[in-house]
Amino acid sequence: MIQINVSIAAALNPDPIKIKSGDTVVWTNNTTSVQTASSNDAGQTFTTGPIQPGANSLPITVPSTTGYFVQPAGLQGTVNVNT
């Protein structure tokens, strides 16, 4: 079980995120605005909640492969969960 750190800035890095089942993902907000990362299914698979500038999100256990978006940055990414 590992943790993947993803930077939210002008782009998402890394993207796509490749993890195994049970791994966690932490998003770091490197913008100057509050950001939220949520799965494309209206946040049904996961949502980070608001991430303050310069802060990390909670370590989210993404249960299944999903696309996601970051608002208000308007970024889109993918989490690939290899079971």
Binding site: A42, Q44, P50, G54, N56, P63
Partner: protein
């Protein structure tokens, strides 16, 4: 003899041997009034020495039984208790550390005290239907639960940032500050109750202020039930959970759960529900009433990696470091963090609960992780030497059951009970994860002042040492939206049961 039964017997024999083979300074788990098959103790055996051993033995027996693997919940059962029952074919410590525990099936206080949405009423004095159904979820959490792995243990819904903030939507003025772990995340809390406590409130409709007032006007004291037959007395559970990093998850030293972290709306932001997140149990209060001790037995456990038992002699750090303490830190000890914006009015605070708080971000004035220092070293407890002896005996027994069980990494920090009218030593009892900033007091010292929220007419009356009755709501308060739970809070690998429909709260 079947495997699980044999293992249980071996467990029992082991602790018997451990107890009898030592000197008079032994305090183990035997002779036991229960057979250690998940059965909760009913009464304290005060005759067991040395000193306070009987009380501490009761506390550990309760801890073991409450953390037993539970039977699956039957949410639709309206004729018997079908939630929070042990699976006596199992043995504690044999399951994975993310398997649910009996107490995790107990009902949370926010389910019973949800404004304008009480559980189903009692029938014939019992509240089986209300007890067995799955608690409603805050609307913000509803969408997140639909895609969870049905074979995984059910999620916790963790709301409070402080154990004093008992209910979503009620961020009480003057509530204690949150605790920030070494990764910068807030500890989350929940309060649950067993069936006797739940039924006492539900059958009397004490979730309504008007019912509490009418009851008090009759001159009747509030009195939760003691044990009855084989049913334990009323019990309240308070749990503290820490967001875990991968090292802590892999360590096998924490009891795990998947959780959604719900945060009620603040003046600044709406309600949020983030997750799923892997959390670890770091603190557990068990408060149980008995016939002989109607002022309850107060016992509190911690995961051993929280902070050193004695800060003056911290010893070696645990493999993943201390959860709430850092060697050599120059930060002031037990300093309540301000709000992230630097203000200190917690009733108006935007806690920014879904972000880390390391104190390094531009707008994070929290100061970062709390330096939590134990003011009441465990080795200096008035309950020593029994406290140390029974902790060692229980941890050893658990390790014998399974060398990798997470339960061996939990310890009884302290216990308290009435020794004489108005006399409640030790007078300093604190769980580092729940009373970080109030270690000069004690459970009973605080709770003896609990009253029902009756105002001046009639004057406040004692609420039997629990603050839960203060959550009673006026029938005129605005409804809080909620959604049905889709999954049963039951053992893993069992079919989930869809919650029977009930109208969502009127908008």
């Amino acid at each position: 003899m079947q495997g699980p039964r044999r293992l249980s017997l071996l467990f029992f024999l082991f602790i018997c041997a451990a107890s009898y083979s030592a000197s008079a300074q032994t305090c183990g788990l035997s002779p036991a009034p229960v057979d250690l098959q998940g059965v909760r103790p009913l009464e304290i055996n005060t005759g067991i020495g040395p000193g306070t051993c009987g009380f501490l033995q009761f506390a550990w027996q309760d801890f073991l039984a409450l953390n037993w693997l539970p039977l699956p919940v039957v949410p639709g059962n309206s004729t018997a208790i079908a939630r929070g029952l042990p699976d006596v074919s199992q043995v504690i410590g044999k399951a994975k550390n993310n398997a649910p525990a009996v107490w995790e099936q107990f009902q949370p206080n926010w389910y019973q005290f949800w404004p304008n949405n009480p559980p189903p009423g009692a029938v014939g004095g019992d509240s089986f239907a209300a007890w067995n159904q799955n608690a409603w979820l805050p609307a913000a959490c509803g969408p997140l639960q639909s895609k969870l792995n049905p074979d995984a243990p059910p999620p916790r819904i963790l709301s409070s940032l402080s154990k004093f903030d008992a209910m979503p939507g009620v961020l009480q003025a003057g509530s204690a500050a949150p605790l920030i772990d070494q990764d910068g995340y807030y500890v989350r809390y929940e309060i649950l109750m067993d069936y006797p406590a739940f039924n006492y409130i539900n059958s009397n409709q004490f979730y309504l202020l008007s019912k509490e007032q009418a009851y008090a006007q009759q001159g009747q004291p509030f009195s939760f039930p003691v044990q009855n037959g084989g049913t334990p007395g009323a019990t309240f559970i308070k749990a503290a959970w820490k967001t875990l990093n991968p090292g802590e998850i892999n360590s096998g030293r924490f009891h795990l759960a998947q959780a959604f972290l719900f945060t009620p709306a603040s003046p600044q932001v709406g309600a949020t529900c983030a997750g799923p997140v892997t959390v670890g149990l770091v603190g557990l209060h068990i408060v149980q009433k008995t016939q002989a001790f109607p002022l309850w037995l107060w016992a509190t456990f911690e995961q051993v990696d929280s902070t050193p038992a004695d800060p003056a002699n911290p010893g070696s750090a645990p493999p993943e470091g201390w959860s709430f303490w850092q060697q050599g830190s120059s930060k002031p000890a037990n300093s309540p963090p301000p709000c992230p914006d630097g203000t200190t009015d917690s009733s108006q605070c935007d806690f920014q609960p879904t972000s880390s708080h390391m104190g390094t971000a531009p707008n994070d004035k929290t100061g970062g992780p709390t330096q939590a220092v134990r003011k009441n070293p465990i080795l200096k407890s008035p309950n020593q030497p029994a406290l140390g002896l029974i902790n060692a005996a229980a941890q050893s027994a658990l390790k014998q059951i399974n060398p990798s069980t997470e339960w061996q990494y939990y310890e009884l920090v302290e216990a308290q009970w009435q020794k004489a009218p108005g006399f409640f030593p030790p007078n300093k009892v604190a769980n580092m994860t729940m009373e970080t900033y109030t270690q000069g007091g004690s459970c009973m010292g605080c709770h003896k002042g609990a009253t029902a929220p009756l105002g001046e007419t009639p004057p406040p009356v004692s609420s039997d040492l629990t603050f839960e009755l203060q959550l009673a709501w006026q029938q005129t308060v605005l409804p809080v939206s909620r959604v049905p739970a889709l999954r049963s809070n039951s053992a893993p690998n069992k079919p989930s049961a869809k919650q029977p429909g009930k109208k969502e709260a009127a908008k």
